[in-house]
């Protein structure tokens, strides 16, 4: 694997069982993502976008194939090692923000650092810096339920950055945001990509998101059907 390739998937297959039925969510995925890229995974509902992100992020395991993230074959990791991997290497941003409701904004950002065993003073300082980076340091003491959706998504991004992950996985990050907040979010993603060389893999339906990416993988029925550049976006949304 080239040094610049941060995520590499080879012939990844994932099958789910629903009662007596087996559904193949991923049917032999091959993927190479380089450090510092903003990659979009697009496709209709049920195409396997979330499953793909979960497998890259170590939340789920592939049945067959190779999943290499930051030079680690995560299929070979034991459960405990996988937890450590998620904590240190992966940042997650979800459609519905998934913040812990009883923790303040600052504490939500602190959470991965607390799990990592970072001392309180140090983690508070870092969490505050991250909140400044995403432009919501003034909300540090509030709880997630009293801030807007756009602000919550910024908190989620700040949290995902806390442990300096090699890749941030975003699953429909703008799904619950309006156009203005979507634009703001993508501006933030680009800023973080530019300033921190942060790699993003974004699963989305949203054309506004897709056009900001460096590479777009189109997924259908668990297979990558094509790879597009942002300039080819009109072709992309024909399916």
């Amino acid at each position: 694997m080239s040094k610049s390739i941060i995520v590499q998937l080879r012939n990844v297959v994932k099958t789910y069982r629903y009662g007596r039925q087996y559904v193949q969510a991923l049917r032999g995925i091959d993927l190479d993502i380089q450090r510092g890229e903003i990659v979009c995974i697009v496709g209709p509902s049920g195409s396997g976008k979330t499953t793909l992100l979960n497998i890259i992020g170590g939340l789920d395991r592939a049945d067959t194939g190779k999943v290499i993230v930051d030079s680690v074959d995560i299929r070979s990791l034991r459960d405990r090692e996988l937890v450590e991997f998620r904590l240190r290497k992966i940042g997650y941003v979800f459609q519905f923000y998934n913040l812990v409701p009883m923790l303040s904004v600052l504490e939500n950002v602190e959470l991965p650092l607390y799990l990592l065993g970072v001392k309180e003073k140090e983690r508070k300082e870092k969490a505050l810096k991250l909140l400044q980076l995403v432009g919501i340091e003034h909300l540090a003491d509030r709880t997630p339920d009293i801030i807007s959706g756009g602000e919550q998504q910024r908190v989620a991004i700040a949290r995902s950055l806390a442990t300096d992950p090699v890749v941030i996985l975003m699953d429909e990050p703008t799904g619950a945001l309006d156009t203005e907040n979507t634009k703001k979010l993508m501006d933030l993603v680009k800023k973080l990509n530019r300033e921190l060389s942060q790699t993003f893999i974004i699963a989305t339906h949203d054309i506004l998101v897709s056009k900001e990416c460096t590479k777009i993988y189109a997924l259908r029925d668990g297979k990558i059907i094509s790879i597009y550049r942002p300039s080819e976006i009109s072709k992309l949304f024909q399916f």
């Binding site: 998620r86 979800f94 990592l116």
Partner: protein
Amino acid sequence: MNMFTIVLRNITKRKLRAILTVLGVAVGIGLMFSLLSISATGTQRSLELIRRISGVDIVVYNGTRSFLSNVIPRAQQGLRLLQPSVQQYIDMQVLDQIYTIPGVYTLSPVLTFRASITLAGNTINVGVYGVDPSSYSEVSSLEIDEGRFLSGLGVYEIVLGRAIADELGIPIGSNVVLEYGNNSITFTFVGIYRAINRFAENSVYIPIDIAQNITGLNNKVTQILIKCVDPSQAQNIAHQITTLLPGVAVFVPTISVQSATQAINTITYFFTTIGLVAITAGVFGVMNTMTMAVAERTREIGIFKAVGASNTFVLKLFLLESTILGLIGGGIGVFIGIILSYIIAPMLAQVGTQRFFGLPGRGSNQPSIQQIQFNPSITPLGIAISLVLGIIVGVIAGIYPAYRAYRLKPVEALRHV
């Protein structure tokens, strides 16, 4: 922020549910705590009783004395109930017969009757104990508060109870005139005894030979107090006495204490059972709350795991929550227990008293169980046991729900709405 603050915030977020859960635990632990304090008190009480009546292993009295055979006919005859009647007495010769029984260490005869003391126009009715000073001191634990006890037979000395001495207000060494029927006998006041309460201090002690002369009951006694060589043989010796002397009855104080203790134990077992049932219900209450919490917070568990929390972290989170609920339940249980011990304890005292008084032949010179002040024993150990019990309840109740949270797969948990 740490695990503890996360748990506390989760508990306080659902206040009503937490309060109800905690109360469920508290009731059971409260019952158990009160039982701990009461059984400690019960033991104290038994020891107190034994201590008070120590010295007397067996009391022998006239076995024909009974309410029907004695009091009612005498009442029908218009006689004063407190006047002595022949039926109540035992002949002095019985003493020699009892002495022949192996295992009898010493015995002391007592003749009791009612009389009065008049001073400056004030008449006080008193119970009179005619005793043999030399042997009585061996079988009795009478506490001389001031002065001394009687010096010997045939000496006109009197020992007053503290209550009488205070009422008469006379110094030791004064003369006291005891009136019985038409007889007025002058005694030298030599000492004051103290009893467990004022009521028991309304008696006087005089030598038994003088008491017999005053009442005209020569060679008669009301009771014989016996001390055995081996107190554990008291019941056996008592049985031999009743076999040897069919007309007499015996009373073995330690058996009464055992009976009272047994009654207390029965009630204690009863409340222990209720307490255990309540604690079991408390365990299920906490388990129910925690299972609901896991179900409601499935998505939150998924977030924790997605962010990088291990299964063990999530297990600890829920186990700590249930343990804290149990501990708070234990703490509140201690308060409930203190209140309950003041409610249940008098019930036990009542049962114990009935058992004690229910036995025939208890001499009036023996202490009443009611006279022993009741104080539930609230000890640091009892409090510690209750708190530990709360923690155990929390841990047991939390294991299953915490394990469910532990087992949840992050992907499935995140899908939960």
